[in-house]
């Protein structure tokens, strides 16, 4: 008998020895909430700043200039972008732009000064940004290896809380939830920003 059959048999035995009582699942917690745009932006910004991310709000027309300014101020000369990123977003950046592809190796990613991507959805109450590998976000390694991540969040894709944000996701896509830069509290519980993930997270919120 395979271990699969053995284990499934054991589970059935276990449930036969102690027959369970059917369990109803209460769902009284809050779902489907909405909030005015201004409040969403304020809440998301508050949470991101709390996590030591840097927030740059801007109007849609200001996006290229904002991205360029953030990259310039951070001293980025070579940045990576996913293949599906809107060219306009980095039109004002005067450094070198490397378009990611599966051929770009890990050490090559490591040599980039930063990366610019879009995002799928954000959750204001927890300050979380969801990336799902869509063409404007790229494969997971792209937003992981470079030390600086400029992530563009459209205010129309900001939800109040986790239940609302999850409804916008496609389960099968590899999904990364980001709440601030990489951090550890493993030494005497003192928080240190930046271990293995990008140590600098810049969020550009487009109104």
């Amino acid at each position: 008998m395979s271990s699969r059959d053995v284990i499934l048999g054991r589970i059935r035995d276990a449930l036969a020895l102690a027959p369970p009582v059917q369990q109803e699942i209460p769902r009284e917690y809050r779902t489907g909430r909405a909030m005015p745009k201004g409040e969403l932006e304020e809440l998301l910004t508050d949470r991101l700043v709390d996590y030591k991310a840097t927030v740059h709000p801007c109007e849609a027309a200001e996006l290229p200039a904002t991205v360029a300014r953030v990259l310039r101020e951070a001293g980025c000369k070579r940045v990576g972008v996913p293949a599906g990123l809107d060219d306009g977003w980095i039109a004002d950046f005067d450094g070198e732009v490397v378009v990611d592809s599966p051929c770009v190796s890990a050490p090559q990613l490591d040599s980039l000064d930063g990366v610019v991507t879009g995002s799928r959805v954000a959750c204001a109450e927890t300050g979380t940004i969801f990336l799902d590998g869509s063409p404007d976000q790229g494969r997971r390694a792209l937003t992981l290896v470079p030390d600086l991540h400029v992530c563009v969040v459209d205010l129309s894709a900001v939800e109040v809380n986790v239940p609302e944000a999850l409804t916008r996701l496609v389960p099968e896509r590899p999904t990364t939830m980001i709440s601030g830069p990489s951090a550890t509290s493993d030494i005497e519980l003192q928080r240190v920003e930046g271990v293995h993930g990008p140590r600098n997270l810049h969020v550009v919120i487009v109104r």
Binding site: S3, M177, L189, Q190, V195
Partner: protein
């Protein structure tokens, strides 16, 4: 008429002895004796647990629907246990459909063999690892070592523990028992190519770990992880973390091997909305942890192109066979119960002798690995609690740990009662079964007045009562019991006076 005997269900086996880390070498009181003497450990743990406790209360307090989330989390996990066979089969099919390979391991021994075999197939002699309770439970690193495979822990705390040739003392912050100068020493002694001028600032220490592991992340072809949940509906797995080492392990290598306890199932993707709110707030006291990675099978041109999932029993089905005890399987490993436990706060995690310390460990470990006789260290775990109930209040999935502890104590005594104690308990039961016998026993207790003598207190008694009198007195028994007073003329006069006052 022919009678057909249906096979009667058999009680599933516990995790095997001698494999993995589910049994210490000494009883809890003996182990606690050593740990209590370590004042540095006491300070570190007390500081850490108090800090996380405050943060947790703050972020759970800001959700007006926290209790409703707990109710749902608890019910979802109970429902999962009720429907485990069908959910596991659904989950397996979903993972397989998305290009994952599912393996089933009856126990630690089989799981270790499967993982080692998979690593050998890749030809790699090194693996990188994300912090995982399941692989710690089965002793995977030790097994890989014996097979000539070097496993690198990549979580900072796990790295500190590994380089320090130590064992974790906390589920969430495994190196909580080490302070910065101890960690600096460990890094200087054990980390290749470390800067000899390394100082003990946590930021410098974290940077040293980053440098040390960066190359490993870029070059190691195999990663091993655990998982926080496996979603039956979609086959999706998730790892909740902070440092980005999880993302690195789950993204960079060509091969990913995930070891998952069979109880980690949640039914649907939408159920994440409950657990992603419960877990970070209960665990690190954050609204959300920095990184959560979710993946389903293999994604072409993104992340590992070979994915293996090992589903682990190792005593979980034995726990499931216990109607009361199975509740412990609902645990989502947040460690909130450790942080509020007054016993854990004093002894730390090592005293529990298991991968799972603290209140949940005291109920989970004996259920997974059994309590074999009075001398088994695991037999002492259910008694390692004052039953103060703080763990139950803190548990995000409402596991009634105090009741489970009481139930396990009952099971322990049913299996093998402690000789003299059983006799004393029986005697007390008989003495208190009627007031007649009880008043006789009370007269005997009154003899304590003689022991107490003029001091008015009892300061020394023979074992096991010396456990009390080593540090505390017992007051001199009163001249009169309550019932003697009640039955006396004086008592009745006082009651009559009180009655008169009521009518005034």
């Amino acid at each position: 008429m022919t009678r057909v005997a249906l096979p009667s269900p058999a009680f599933p086996p516990r995790a095997p002895e001698g494999a993995g880390n589910l049994r210490g070498s000494e009883s809890f009181p003996d182990a606690a004796h050593h740990e209590l003497a370590n004042s540095q450990l006491r300070r570190n743990i007390s500081n850490a647990t108090h800090t996380i406790r405050e943060k947790r209360l703050q972020v759970t307090g800001e959700l007006p629907d926290w209790e409703q989330l707990r109710d749902s989390g608890s019910a979802i996990k109970t429902d999962v246990m009720n429907r485990l066979p069908e959910l596991l089969e659904q989950f397996e099919a979903a993972v397989t459909a998305r290009g994952g390979v599912v393996h089933w391991a009856q126990d630690a021994v089989e799981a270790n063999e499967i993982v080692a075999g998979l690593v050998r197939e890749t030809g790699s002699e090194e693996v990188i690892k994300v912090k995982s309770m399941a692989t710690q439970e089965i002793g995977l690193n030790e097994h890989l070592e014996s097979e000539g495979i070097r496993a690198y822990e990549t979580d900072l705390a796990e790295l500190i523990v590994q380089l320090g040739h130590d064992t974790p003392s906390h589920i969430l912050v495994p190196a909580i028992h080490r302070n910065r100068s101890e960690i600096r020493e460990i890094f200087l002694n054990e980390m290749a190519d470390v800067d000899p001028h390394l100082d003990d600032d946590p930021a410098s220490l974290a940077a040293a770990a980053r440098r040390f592991l960066r190359h490993k992340f870029m070059t190691t072809p195999v990663a091993i992880s655990g998982t926080n949940f496996g979603i039956a509906e979609t086959g999706t797995l998730g790892v909740v973390e902070s440092e980005g080492n999880g993302r690195m392990c789950l993204t960079m290598p060509q091969t990913l091997i995930t070891v998952m306890g069979i109880e980690k199932i949640i039914p649907t993707y939408a159920d994440l909305e409950v657990f992603l709110q419960l877990l970070p707030r209960s665990s690190t006291g954050e609204r959300m942890n920095p990184y959560t990675s979710m993946w389903t099978g293999v994604t072409p041109e993104d992340g590992p192109q070979s994915f293996h999932l090992v589903l682990l029993d190792n005593g979980r089905t034995a726990a499931l066979a216990d109607k009361i005890g199975r509740e412990a399987l609902n645990c989502i490993r947040c460690s909130a119960c450790l942080n509020v436990c007054p016993v854990y706060e004093r002894t730390g995690g090592h005293a529990y002798g298991s991968t799972y310390p603290g209140p949940i460990g005291a109920v989970l470990t004996p259920q997974l690995a059994g309590m074999h006789g009075s001398h088994d260290p695991n037999s002492s775990l259910p008694f390692a609690s004052s039953l103060c109930g703080a763990c139950f209040d803190a548990c995000p999935v409402k596991i009634d740990i105090p009741s489970l502890l009481v139930e396990l104590r009952h099971q322990k005594v049913e299996q093998a009662a402690f000789g003299s104690e059983a006799a004393a308990m029986r005697a007390a039961s008989i003495a208190m079964s009627s007031s007649g016998k009880f008043t006789v026993a009370q007269k005997a207790a009154g003899l304590g007045r003689l022991i107490a003598g003029k001091k008015g207190k009892i300061s020394a008694l023979p074992p096991p009562l010396s456990g009390w009198t080593d540090a505390r007195d017992i007051p001199k028994p009163p001249k009169q019991t309550f019932r003697q007073w009640w039955g006396s003329a004086e008592g009745q006069r006082e009651i009559a006076d009180a009655r008169r006052q009521a009518h005034e």
